[in-house]
């Protein structure tokens, strides 16, 4: 596909890798913020190709992984109601709440539907005026504009049977939280390209300056990621710490003005709980008072649901880059995509799932048989 294949070229990838190798002189730990980037890194085996000095730490940028348990429980409660059509992005269906997941609610008769856009949910509300249609509005700055648009349209069309269960989070406060943690090992960030395509880059120079950390806006194809790594390593080796945009084909400094206007109209900044990190001030969005009538938590009176999260797995440390998935005792044994202990294993974008799907052979000895030395795994034929 044009503008995709060009960024997957093995010869250009080798040249970027050579440049990184020629630049690096000592160990550096970089965090890719976005789960989509984690997925791409593991799917293409990019981390295997990097010099040993460059370590990639997987960040908290998987929206499924950081959605708190009590929000999942609220979703399950609402979805089970007979008057509700509950609409969600696909990978939220497998996230376990306290005692069940959306698949189970669906199996027990709940009307749970996978949609590809909140506007699809809005269309369902238009076609089913006798039902309550709820869209599970999770995600980072990337999904916020379309969710805002859905509510904006609902009001314009007077669709009173539409509402959002909102759990929106923002990247810059998460970077702030990670950098101020005493255990922080991150020395440079690959900032999430699609978040910046919406929001622009204005929030980042100050973060880079204050924490003396390079921030490189990075895309998602293999060459995008290698270019982001190359620039971050270059800055680190020269003792620099500034914002760079390595994804200019999608990201402008001012972001997407139309999307920003829509977010501003519908959402206001709010404190949020992050699964794996805890409460972070001003780290998310909620509907403004003007749109509070479209807030599913109020409409269905589930604001009282509070869930204690029992200690089971180490997803919190994984989300903060403190350990690799394979360093968790449960990885691949008690915890698999079939029986996830943590949300990092549930979503395709979650670091554990990416490791399980693509890497467990090299990183977990005796998982299925003998450990395979990397050099044995050459391309076929």
């Amino acid at each position: 596909m044009k503008y995709i294949d060009e960024f997957n070229d093995p010869d250009l990838a080798r040249r970027l890798l050579d440049e990184i190798r020629a630049t690096v002189t000592r160990p550096w730990a970089l965090m890719e913020v976005c789960g989509g980037q984690t997925h791409s890194i593991i799917r293409h085996g990019i981390d295997q190709l990097l010099p040993d000095e460059v370590e990639l730490i997987h960040g908290p940028g998987c929206p499924v992984c950081v959605t708190p348990l009590d929000v999942i429980d609220k979703a399950l409660e609402i979805a089970a109601r007979p008057d509700v059509i509950f609409c969600s992005f696909g990978d939220m269906l497998r996230v376990p709440g306290t005692d069940r997941d959306l698949f189970r609610v669906k199996g027990e008769g709940g009307d749970v539907r996978v949609v590809y856009s909140p506007l699809d949910a809005l269309e369902l509300a238009r076609r089913h005026p006798d039902r309550q249609v709820v869209f599970f509005a999770i995600g980072f700055e990337t999904t916020a504009p379309a969710n805002a648009m859905a509510v904006h349209q609902a009001r314009r069309l007077a669709l009173d049977n539409f509402s959002l269960l909102v759990s929106h989070v923002r990247v810059p406060p998460a970077i702030e939280a990670i950098m101020t943690a005493p255990s922080c090992r991150v020395q440079g960030f690959l900032a999430a390209g699609h978040v910046c395509s919406v929001m622009g880059t204005a929030e980042y120079p100050e973060l880079a300056e204050r924490h003396r950390v390079p921030l490189v806006v990075t895309g998602f194809e293999p060459l995008d990621i290698l270019e982001g790594i190359r620039r971050a390593v270059h800055q680190l080796e020269r003792g620099e710490h500034r914002l760079e945009n390595a994804y200019p084909r999608a990201v402008r400094e001012q972001g997407n003005p139309a999307a920003l206007r829509m977010i501003e109209e519908v959402f206001e900044v709010a404190d949020r709980n992050w699964r794996g990190i805890g409460p972070i001030p001003a780290s998310g969005w909620r509907l403004t008072d003007a749109f509070r009538a479209y807030d599913a938590e109020h409409r269905f009176d589930v604001t009282g649901i509070r869930t204690e999260e029992p200690a089971v797995c180490r997803a919190g440390e994984i989300l903060q880059g403190l350990i690799k998935p394979t360093q968790c005792e449960a990885f691949g044994k008690a915890c698999t995509p079939r029986t996830p202990l943590g949300a990092t294993m549930v979503s395709n974008e979650g670091a554990c799932a990416a490791y399980y799907l693509y890497r467990r052979m090299t990183d977990t000895p005796a998982q299925q048989g003998s450990r395979i030395p990397r050099e044995e795994m050459n391309p076929v034929g």
Partner: protein, 363 residues
């Protein structure tokens, strides 16, 4: 929300303490049937192992092949059954009727059999237009003629409105396995060439494009087709084809995992050698799906001894159903039970058995 916000505001600084965070208890087993039980992945396998096999398991069933091969009066009979619940009933490139014939014919062909007779059982929902049933019936007839099989017996049931989804069809089929042919997943051997008969993912993407109302710019048509003729051409080169599988639900990834596990061998694929049509790659990229797990209805994957691989591949390419055949990898002694892909950039990744249905990613 208000409560949560209030509580969070009281925190004066981000509390980043990894020990304060936890995750929910696991959902070990679903007590009800979920859609993933029909997805052809790990959940389907568990359903068979935990529910059906204990109830009526036997050595013949335990082989878990696409079709059972039975000794009967000196002949070797291949026998298979499958139910078809596709929605919509008619889609680009085919229909429920085509699938109901080709799916069962292909299951028979995957043991090397020449399919001969089919049964059909229609479950009709009260209120469905007869014209629709008629269209499905004629599609069955046309597909049977094209596949060279005779529909020898049938049944019809009607369920009340709301208790079905229009039309469901179950077919069963029998065919004769030629002498000297022994094709089953347990026969995969290190060194075997892994050959796929054509581009993958077309059926699954075609169904998604109409079911979900997604448009990908070009019409993508299902690959549904009968494969018994193609198999006969392959067996004319050598009867020593080790394994055949039609990668339907769960796609090529699930089929290769099943073969690796049944035979105790590993499979290595070269990502660049796997034929993925641009339109399938684009749709999968858009939805966050992996083409290796997308369903096919007119493709097979073969494990062939290396000395016969070139000749079998040439015979496949000379047949209309195998024109796009490609050698995509090999069977290896290493990493038994696992499928490993070398990526275009030179890295590697494991292709695991999918759980159930693939879930579109959020972004």
């Amino acid at each position: 929300m208000a409560d949560l916000a209030t509580e969070a505001t009281e925190a004066t600084a981000p509390v980043v303490d990894p020990t304060n965070w936890t995750c929910p208890a696991p959902l070990r087993d679903q007590p009800v049937v979920v859609m993933g039980h029909g997805g052809g992945g790990a959940l389907s396998a568990e359903l068979i192992e935990q529910v059906f096999a204990p109830a009526y398991g036997n050595p013949t069933l335990a082989a878990l092949t696409d079709s059972a091969v039975l000794g009967l009066g000196g002949a070797r009979l291949a026998f298979s059954t499958d139910s078809y619940v596709v929605r919509p009933l008619f889609f680009p490139g085919g229909s429920l009727g085509d699938l109901a014939v080709n799916g069962t014919v292909n299951d028979l062909a995957m043991s090397g059999a020449r399919p001969a007779y089919l049964s059909t059982a229609f479950i009709l929902e009260e209120g469905v237009e007869l014209a629709v049933v008629e269209r499905v019936a004629w599609a069955v007839g046309a597909a049977a003629e094209a596949a060279g099989v005779i529909v020898a017996t049938g049944d019809t049931k009607v369920v009340e409105s709301g208790h079905g989804d229009g039309v469901y069809v179950t077919t069963a089929g029998v065919g004769l396995v030629p002498d000297g042919v022994d094709i089953r997943p347990q026969r995969a051997r290190p060194g075997d060439a892994v050959i796929v008969s054509g581009p993958i993912g077309l059926h699954g993407v075609a169904i998604m494009s109409v079911r979900e109302g997604l448009e990908f710019g070009v019409e993508i048509t299902s690959d549904t087709a009968p494969l018994a003729d193609l198999v006969a051409e392959m067996l004319a080169v050598t009867k020593d084809v080790h394994v055949l599988r039609d990668p339907t639900r769960g796609g090529l990834g699930a089929s290769l995992n099943e073969i690796a596990r049944a035979s105790g061998t590993g499979v290595r694929l070269s990502e660049r050698a796997v034929p993925v049509p641009d339109e399938v790659a684009n749709a999968c990229g858009f939805l966050g799906l992996d083409p290796l797990y997308v369903a096919n209805e007119g493709r097979l994957v073969a494990f062939v001894p290396p000395e016969h691989a070139d000749a079998v591949l040439a015979a496949m390419r000379a047949h209309p159903q195998g024109a796009g055949a490609a050698r995509i990898g090999e069977c290896v002694a290493e990493h038994p039970g696992m499928v490993v892909v070398s990526t275009g950039l030179g890295g590697t990744r494991v292709v695991d058995l999918p759980l159930g249905e693939q879930l579109p990613r959020i972004c």
